[in-house]
Symmetry: D2
Subunit: 121 residues, 4 copies
């Protein structure tokens, strides 16, 4: 999907996305609407639109593949708008959370189990 010069997970930083979105929003005078609370609501709404593609079926219909990608993108846009508004460095937060998860879900205890950490043996 990624074109030669386009964005990609391999070559584009989240900072590039943050700056693009900040411009986009500023040009439209949207930051006045973008309270953290409303951005969190927007994120919920977008995630549900994504979830709907899985309703009554195990996987989205073939013909909805592009629509699913659009919803994934919408979720990401909302999430980055929110982290920006809250002044959070998302990947720094993720690195920290993965470290927490590594402690909560040690390989020998969590292997092959889907329980939450507070229910692991």
């Amino acid at each position: 999907m990624s074109t030669e010069n386009g964005w990609s997970d391999a070559h584009t930083s989240l900072m590039t996305l943050r700056e693009r979105l900040a411009d986009f929003n500023r040009q439209r005078d949207w930051p006045k609407f973008h309270t953290p609370k409303d951005l969190a609501i927007a994120l919920s709404v977008e995630v549900a639109e994504l979830l709907e593609f899985f309703l009554w079926r195990a996987e989205p219909d073939e013909k909805d593949a592009a629509a699913v990608q659009e919803e994934l993108a919408d979720v990401m846009i909302c999430l980055v708008n929110l982290t920006q508004r809250l002044d959070v460095d998302l990947l720094a937060a993720v690195e920290e959370k993965i470290a927490t998860n590594a402690l909560r879900y040690p390989v020998d205890k969590a292997k092959g189990r889907a329980e939450k950490y507070n229910r692991l043996p």
Copy 2:
């Protein structure tokens, strides 16, 4: 929050995150649980945990700032797990969606308005 050598939106690619999560999940034999449908559900659950910090208040309590960052990270982790499982390049999809949004929300029509594109004048 980001340490000198740690991850950050400026310096870490999503591919780095994707690979770290793939390892993390594989070590725990979790891919067998990670159906796209369940990952979409997980994403919904995490977003609601984030949203709860905005319930009955305009912004999260000061004392919950670290917990909010954790929830933002959880949302991102679920989203990237899902894009990986669906084999979608998230930033390529986002670039495409921003281009669509630019057409749907031209500056002169959307400026200072919060309506959905199909309700713009």
Copy 3:
């Protein structure tokens, strides 16, 4: 809104609604799709469609009043479909939960406070 002979919160029992929905679904051969998991997903999707009317605004637009009522109805329909599928008596469960809440939120402690019970003084 309720007509003289129509349903209303005052005069119609949930059992009446349960039976109407059971008929409705059976006629369409839908019970085969109505797994508890998918009904829970459907409920999430409907709630998000309702929530969207509150996005970027304090209250839904006047012109959306009928649409909001429709979404409220959709949420209720999904909820009752799910309780039926799980064989739960919803109002019995609600009575029990209100009793629990009365213990968790005693008037003298909870009065005028929006904190969760585990954070009350």
Copy 4:
């Protein structure tokens, strides 16, 4: 679950529940927090807590049956609080919506199909 004199879907009206909740909230001085927007958020949060019991599994664990009933009750309480705040008669709205659904999903077209009405043949 329903005791002889307790509430039940067969014998208790939604009006009884509405009045009980109105008292409960008034005693705690909660109506000042109960904006429609926050009640809609609360509903989303409760639905996600319910949904979590279906994550990574087809049905909730046996041992979680009581917890699932509690979550169903929480969803109902939020929904009724919201309808009350918006001054909507829920069962009247539901009757209307079922009539709409009967038109959108005629038996001969919708039988055995899980598609949304705008995708039916």
